[in-house]
């Protein structure tokens, strides 16, 4: 059985640059060559028509929903857009509250924006992770976050361009990835209790 890539853009705003870079013919070809057969994309609220357009541009075969019935993924996530690019099945949806379960049950590789929540989620689940910083946002430091995690060997980061994505995809397959320790720290717990009891 082939592997699955789950792409997540975060809950707050869409990340068109990432989706556009991802739905590039060469990137999709690379994924196919790397034996991926399924691409699940959480593309962000209000981005459905653009997502369909991008799929159309790359020559993916869009599937009409059968009798209004929407296929579902793990954790009951409903697919809004379904398409095929050669042997690669592409499933897209705007947003889900069950992203954690989706990552856990479906993903072999995660491609994500560089929000701390998404990064920590994917790493704690032990998933291979490639992040793309959303540099168009003000005040959220995604680039620094991505570079910091990358410098500690937890993930690969890439710019939102097809070529950068392809290079990073090759890297993430081969380079070892440092696991992220659990957030529990007994010294911090003691600090909390000491302050409460002071």
């Amino acid at each position: 059985m082939g592997s699955t890539v789950v792409v997540t853009c975060g809950a707050t705003v869409p990340f068109p640059e990432l989706i556009a870079a991802l739905l590039d013919k060469q990137v999709l070809d690379t994924l196919l060559r790397m034996q991926y057969t399924k691409l699940i994309v959480q593309y962000g609220r209000g981005f459905t028509s653009e997502f369909k357009q991008l799929l159309d541009c790359v020559g993916a075969r869009l599937e009409a929903s059968t009798n209004g019935k929407t296929p579902t993924l793990a954790a009951g996530v409903e697919v809004q857009v379904r398409a095929h690019f050669q042997a690669l099945e592409i499933c897209g949806f705007e947003f889900t509250g069950a992203i954690h379960q989706l990552l856990r049950d479906e993903a072999d590789l995660v491609i994500s924006h560089a929000g701390t929540g998404s990064i920590v989620d994917a790493l704690r689940l032990g998933k291979r992770l490639l992040v793309v910083a959303n540099t168009s946002l003000m005040d959220n430091h995604q680039l620094q976050i991505a570079l910091k995690f990358e410098s500690r060997g937890h993930l690969q980061s890439a710019a939102a361009q097809p070529k950068a994505l392809i290079a990073a995809l090759r890297e993430v397959e081969t380079a070892p990835q440092a696991p992220l320790p659990h957030g529990y720290n007994s010294s911090f717990e003691r600090l909390l209790m000491d302050v409460a009891q002071s």
Binding site: A11, T116, V120, H141, I145, Y184, L192, Q197, S198
Partner: protein, 228 residues
């Protein structure tokens, strides 16, 4: 008469200054004194915990903190006070940590938002002023609940936290009762503190950062790695 009044005012002012120096941790006066205090484990007394959920990433991190330190912070008998300023955060709390809290009493406190991310400075000043006024009553009530109890206030980065910490510390100074605040800087801050962090650094009881690089720059900051 006027002279006596002046004298009283002066004495009062002096007392206030001394009290402020005593309370604000950056002056480092109380720390030494506290070591000699008895610090037994108050097993019998339930913890009263206040956390503030800002929005988006801040909320996410606070909920992860609560989840990771559940055994210490959310023991049965704990009274949890959840401050929030947007519905999404409240829903996220109820869907995650709040969904499984046996024997924990949860109370919600609504705060208006101090500052929209990216708002202009004039709009920021106005909304901060409004938020400040609205929050005072809430916090004074909270302080009343916490007096004499085993208590902890856990904050991370959102703007409202400045008002919360500032007012609780002010009340600590004037009412001669403790307000115990731990601040955990956002994981998103890798090399510089957030504005909230900079403002609260001298004020809160313990200041925790999640990247060692930040710890090196700030003497008071403690680092235990990634906690969320």
């Amino acid at each position: 008469m006027g002279y006596t009044l002046c004298l009283f005012a002066l004495i009062f002012l002096q007392a206030l200054v001394v009290r402020t120096l005593w309370v604000v941790p950056i002056f480092g006066i109380r720390e030494g004194a506290e070591l000699s205090e008895k610090r037994g484990f108050q097993a019998g007394q339930a913890l009263r915990l206040f956390v503030f959920l800002g929005s988006g990433g801040h909320t996410g991190e606070m909920l992860r903190l609560l989840e990771n330190y559940r055994t210490a912070l959310l023991r049965p008998g704990t009274q949890l006070y959840v401050g929030f300023s947007d519905e999404a955060s409240l829903l996220k709390f109820q869907a995650t940590v709040g969904a499984d809290l046996p024997d924990v009493e949860v109370k919600f406190l609504r705060f208006s938002k101090a500052r929209e991310v990216g708002a202009s400075s004039l709009a920021s000043v106005r909304s901060v002023a409004f938020s400040f006024a609205q929050s005072l009553w809430c916090l004074t009530w909270l302080k009343w609940q916490f007096v004499g109890q085993q208590q902890l206030v856990l904050l991370n980065g959102p703007g409202t936290c400045c008002i919360i910490a500032g007012w609780l510390k002010f009340l600590e100074i004037v009412t001669l009762t403790r307000s115990k605040i731990v601040y955990v800087e956002s994981l998103a801050r890798t090399d510089t503190l957030s504005l909230s962090g900079k403002l609260l650094y001298p004020l809160v009881d313990e200041f925790v950062v999640q990247w060692s690089e930040l710890c090196e720059q700030y003497d008071r900051a403690r680092c235990y790695g990634i906690l969320v």
